[in-house]
Symmetry: C2
Subunit: 213 residues, 2 copies
């Protein structure tokens, strides 16, 4: 997915970075890079009984994040509701000499906005194809496209990228000077999400090549 | 962390599984296994400007989830607030013959509850040690323990595991019978989070053995 033009999003009461500001950014391109690297987001909303969080897939297209769900699901009925969308990538375990300076290396984006139901058929088709392609590039063109009944059974919601922020931590542990001689290892254990060899469906017919990710 | 005794949590208005009930569970031991396998949770709460989601580390000890933060942070000030905590483990990409049957294999736990500030010093020490040990087993005993000033600068919050549910998807794609001859590969691409070789801190003194994870 191509990145939008370089632009700094305005800070708002919700996206002002209150703590460790040096770890933050409001650059739209950096925010989009994190959104494009994640596969799952956590969507926060206020339900009938208080705060709710739902994990779900998403895709970023142009300057919006898209969510989808069955029209009767809580997300599918979120048209007009304020949402908070979080995408978090865990990059490493930060092991310091002191218990309290242990940390994680991460990249995290928070998006605030109102969900808007997508009613334009072409936008819906384009975004659903992007959702498939993001999981496996090029796949949307290979699979059986959505039928009118399937499209009607899918609520697609747009949240514009107008109010968002990024936070990240990188690099080694930061210990207090008096702890540097403490007798233990210190450093970072990098974490990566890897694809293992694909497992064909038991009912696969034909010798189609397995995808590489 | 040892698992609590086998017990089924009661279904409530918030944890009743509304969709795809066959993917769900309220078994406490299964819920704890997912909580113990994750490293990051997403905490939902209602802020001054609507729904908020914060990614953070956590640990499950006995029948509670613990979060921590600076006393002035939004989580650190959450004593008495209703929270929704989500832990999601992504296990695989499910590639079907039709766009609409694409899915993810995952394990996901949602916990609802009120945050309670931990005021007992021994509970605070024990849980902070568990937080370090979970990232790297045995490490809490090796590192410089928290000082009284550090403990005072750490708000620890307990959310009891009384209202929680699990959802998971496993296995191959489920395509419509009429799509089984569609000319493309179908199956699952398993995803795993792996630790890469540890990177020592640039200021590491002494030849301490690097941890194995």
């Amino acid at each position: 997915m191509s990145l939008p033009p370089a632009r700094t999003l305005p800070e708002t009461d919700r996206t002002r970075l209150l703590r460790r500001r040096q770890r933050g950014s409001h650059e739209l391109a950096e925010i989009c890079e994190v959104l494009d690297a994640g596969l799952v987001c956590h969507v926060g909303f206020v339900g009938a009984h208080g705060p709710c969080v739902v994990p779900t897939t998403y895709v970023r297209v142009d300057e919006a994040v898209y969510l989808h769900g069955a029209p009767a699901s809580r997300l599918g009925r979120a048209d007009g509701q304020p949402l908070c969308i979080a995408v978090t990538l865990l990059d490493g375990l930060v092991l310091a000499r002191s218990a309290m300076h242990h940390s994680m290396n991460y990249r995290s984006v928070i998006v605030y906005g109102e969900a808007a139901l997508v009613t334009d058929d072409r936008e819906q088709l384009r975004v659903l194809a992007a959702l498939v392609d993001r999981v496996m590039p090029g796949r949307a063109a290979q699979v059986r496209p959505p039928s009118p009944a399937e499209l009607a059974a899918t609520a697609l919601l747009r949240v514009a990228l107008t109010e968002a922020s990024l936070k990240r931590r990188t690099g080694p542990p930061v210990d207090d000077p008096e702890d540097l001689d403490w007798p233990c290892w210190a450093g970072v254990v990098p974490l990566v999400e890897r694809a293992e060899p694909p497992v064909p469906a038991p009912d696969l017919r034909g010798a189609w090549p397995a995808p590489a990710r």
